[in-house]
């Protein structure tokens, strides 16, 4: 696929405390290595150890990636709705917010961006474990923006989670369900 003209994708994933949002960013980036000339994942964690805000930025691009730090991005995934207000202003006009609906009931105030609301926690819990909540959002992102074939992400999820473990199935299901939901969202 290399060599074909390819859009650049910038996404910020904003969550809380630890690794959930970090890991979907890493999976997205790792899955894209074979597809894009340049791939970057950049975390932003505060000193506080657990339960503190934690965001990451993923950039997929065929041209050189200049800044690893983005103030604004095409897409922002909010995995904890409490982070919405801090990030709402950072989506580019015409961009998209993928928003976890569980938790605080903040509303997006901007009208120049698309909003995709995803019940990640609920969906993951329904599939067996709320821990997979962020995978649902990743599915929604891939469905909506299509930066990569879903198969590449699924391969990466399989690599990340232990063989035959039920975590692999859970996460794959959550990812696929996220795509499903997004298709009709």
């Amino acid at each position: 696929m290399k060599g074909e003209p390819s859009k650049r994708h910038d996404v910020i994933i904003a969550g809380i405390g630890g690794t959930g949002s970090m890991i979907i960013g890493q999976i997205l980036a790792a899955a894209a290595v074979s597809r894009y000339n340049n791939v970057l994942w950049n975390p932003s964690m505060t000193t506080a150890r657990r339960g503190a805000p934690a965001d990451c930025t993923v950039i997929l691009s065929d041209t050189e990636i200049a800044s690893p730090l983005l103030f604004s991005a095409d897409t922002i995934i909010i995995t904890e709705s409490s982070r919405l207000k801090a990030f709402e202003g950072r989506v580019l006009p015409g961009g998209m917010i993928i928003l976890e609906t569980s938790g605080e009931n903040e509303e997006v105030e901007r009208d120049d961006v698309r909003v995709v609301e995803i019940p990640g926690v609920e969906t993951a819990a329904r599939l067996g474990n709320a821990l997979a909540r962020n995978m649902v959002l990743l599915g929604a992102y891939v469905e909506k923006l299509a930066p990569l074939p879903a198969a590449l992400i699924e391969e990466e999820i399989a690599r990340k989670f232990p063989d035959n473990g039920k975590m692999r199935e859970l996460n794959l299901n959550a990812f696929r369900e996220g795509m499903n939901i997004a298709r009709s969202a």
């Binding site: 809380i16 405390g17 657990r50 339960g51 709320a130």
Partner: protein, 79 residues
Amino acid sequence: MAKGVIEIKENRCRGCGFCEMFCKKGCIEMSTRVSNLGLPLPDFINPDDCSACGMCAWMCPHTAIEIYEYVEASPATAL
């Protein structure tokens, strides 16, 4: 009747379960409720048996429990 009562400050609780483990009276049980941080919260399920012994608070690493003993109301010191 209950000798005392405990108060669980859910904003401080980190769901470790030490209180449940060390209450010999079985007054505390980890519930299915979760805190803001997504961690399980304990419930004071058996107030009547609480002896206000202090153990749960001693063992709580997150200073999330306060224990009170019931004492006779002291007559207002009038004068």
